[in-house]
């Protein structure tokens, strides 16, 4: 069988990934107006309400009217049975570019990429990117039970643990492979809680010590309560437009120095100990013209701390397998050696469905725009934002990352 598996790998074409054409730059694109419809634990509102609230905040922040927005990127899990298409009629808009991006935790950077290319090509001038979800007793279970065909057929029947069970398996394999300990995961979670205490938008702001983290009840061993994000409702958004337009409107903006995405990377790895970032990080840093050592602000996708460690490794902040060592060498708080998930991340802010894929991006934007108020990181000129989404079966399929810079 090994020869046959090798043949399958060639057919899938991953050997060619290193020779892809270099992507064009994102020159001339402005990223502005991070907005958040505040997260709440539960809501009787539908997903469209949260998305519309984020859209309204974008109009206010950009001093725009609806017809000014001619491009729209939308991500949501609980908007079902609607998509971005139905949402245009719901909110009375007629965009000439419309993207429906069901890529979960990777959707923020992917929306940014789609919007930036639409702006560069002239297909749209001002693109609103929004992601949001509602949360109630029935929405979460319904989503899990029918998340994907593979999950429905081959994961959920085995205990219905949901993402906690899938990530527990990844965490267990990662701990054996690298020597990571619960304390290493706790270092990430505890630092993020300290950051969240300075973020009025975070739902979890009580102090959390390492002892409290370690004493939490088990959910899906080796994962315990504070390794798991809290599902909630909310929405986030931002605008993408030509730099000239942002200047004309006096909107402070950021530049996109580089951005990548990858789907179903390394399909022959039996268990996910690396994500697609490892395939594309050279393209990312090459496009950005800087390296991981030049970045002092990092926002990773932290649905579970182990996934942040895969991002540190995959994006070149440390060597593969050195995630635990990297965590032990750093302080991830606002004034620490590497400020990470500076708003508290999903672990402390909450996971508002698809908005979880925007959370790190809007936080990085606020930091670089100097709008982070009581949690402002000093002198950050660049930020790395990464995303991870969609446990379709046994692993997350979508990865993304972007390097942002001050204008």
């Amino acid at each position: 069988m090994p020869q046959r598996l090798g043949g399958a790998a060639r057919l899938r074409g991953h050997a060619r990934a290193e020779t892809v054409v270099t992507a064009h730059s994102y020159d001339g694109v402005a990223l502005c107006c991070p907005v958040t419809e505040p997260y709440v634990r539960r809501s009787e509102h539908g997903a469209a309400w949260f998305l519309a609230r984020a859209l309204r905040r974008l109009l206010n922040a950009g001093n725009l009217t609806k017809p000014d927005i001619d491009g729209l990127c939308v991500s949501s899990f609980t908007l079902h049975p609607d998509t971005a298409v139905g949402f245009t009629q719901y909110v009375g808009m007629s965009p000439r570019v419309l993207e429906w991006l069901p890529m979960g935790g990777a959707c923020g950077v992917i929306a940014l990429r789609r919007a930036a290319r639409a702006v560069q090509a002239g297909d749209a001038e001002i693109v609103a990117c929004i992601a949001g979800d509602t949360a109630n007793e029935t929405s979460f279970r319904a989503l899990l039970a029918d998340f994907s065909s593979f999950s429905r057929d081959a994961v959920y029947p085995y205990g219905a643990g949901g993402p906690n069970a899938s990530f527990a398996l990844i965490a267990d394999a990662y701990m054996r492979a690298t020597g990571a300990t619960r304390e290493d995961f706790g270092t990430i979670a505890v630092a993020q809680r300290a950051n969240a205490r300075r973020n009025p938008l975070a739902l979890l702001r009580n102090e959390m010590t390492m002892a409290q983290y370690l004493a939490a009840r088990p959910i899906a061993e080796p994962l315990h309560l504070f390794d798991c994000v809290m599902p909630c409702a909310g929405a986030d958004g931002f605008l993408v437009m030509p730099e000239a337009r942002a200047r004309a409107r006096n909107l402070p903006f950021l530049r996109v120095l580089g951005a990548i995405e990858r789907h179903n990377a390394f399909p022959d790895d039996p268990v996910q100990l690396r994500g697609g970032w490892a395939m594309d990080r050279d393209a990312l840093w090459g496009q950005a013209g800087i390296g991981p050592r030049d970045v002092r602000l990092v926002e990773t996708y932290d649905d579970y701390p182990v996934i942040s460690m895969l991002q540190f490794e995959g994006l070149g902040f440390c060597a593969p397998g050195d995630g635990p060592g990297f965590v032990r060498r750093h302080d991830f708080t606002i004034e620490g050696s590497l400020p990470h998930n500076t708003g508290g991340g999903q672990l402390s802010v909450g996971q508002a469905g698809a908005a979880g894929g925007y959370l790190g991006l809007v936080e990085a934007m606020r930091q670089l725009l100097g709008e982070a108020e009581g949690r402002q990181v000093a002198n950050a000129r660049h930020a790395l934002v990464s995303g991870f989404g969609m446990i379709n079966y046994d692993r997350g399929l979508c990865t993304s990352a972007a390097v942002l810079g001050r204008a």
Binding site: M1, R4, L5, G7, A8, L11, R12, F140, R141, L144, A145, S149, F150, D153, A154, V155, Y156, P157, Y158, G159, A160, G161, G162, N164, A165, S166, A168, L169, I170, D172, A173, R176, R217, P218, I219, A220, E221, P222, L223, P270, V271, Y393, D394
Partner: protein, 101 residues
Amino acid sequence: MIRLQRCADCGAAQYPPREVCGACLSDRLASDSADSLPARVLARTRLHHSNEPRFRARLPLTVGLVQFDAGPVAVCFLAETAAQGDAVQVRIGADDLLEAA
């Protein structure tokens, strides 16, 4: 139920089931007829929480990620004693609580 498929054209084994071979895209697929298949435990978890009431009375449940010797990976219930790296036999077609022992 866990069933392994084999492609009649390229011989690849696959799981979860689909209507085409994920390697060569042929639709000439057959289910493996063995009652159990050898596999190795890649990872395990003990579930203390379930989203479905039917599982709650049976918690904690041991669930594993196993790789068949034939290649594909499956999520399945695991004997409590099975540890990472152990060789196991996965019962094919069963849907009771112990598919790998």
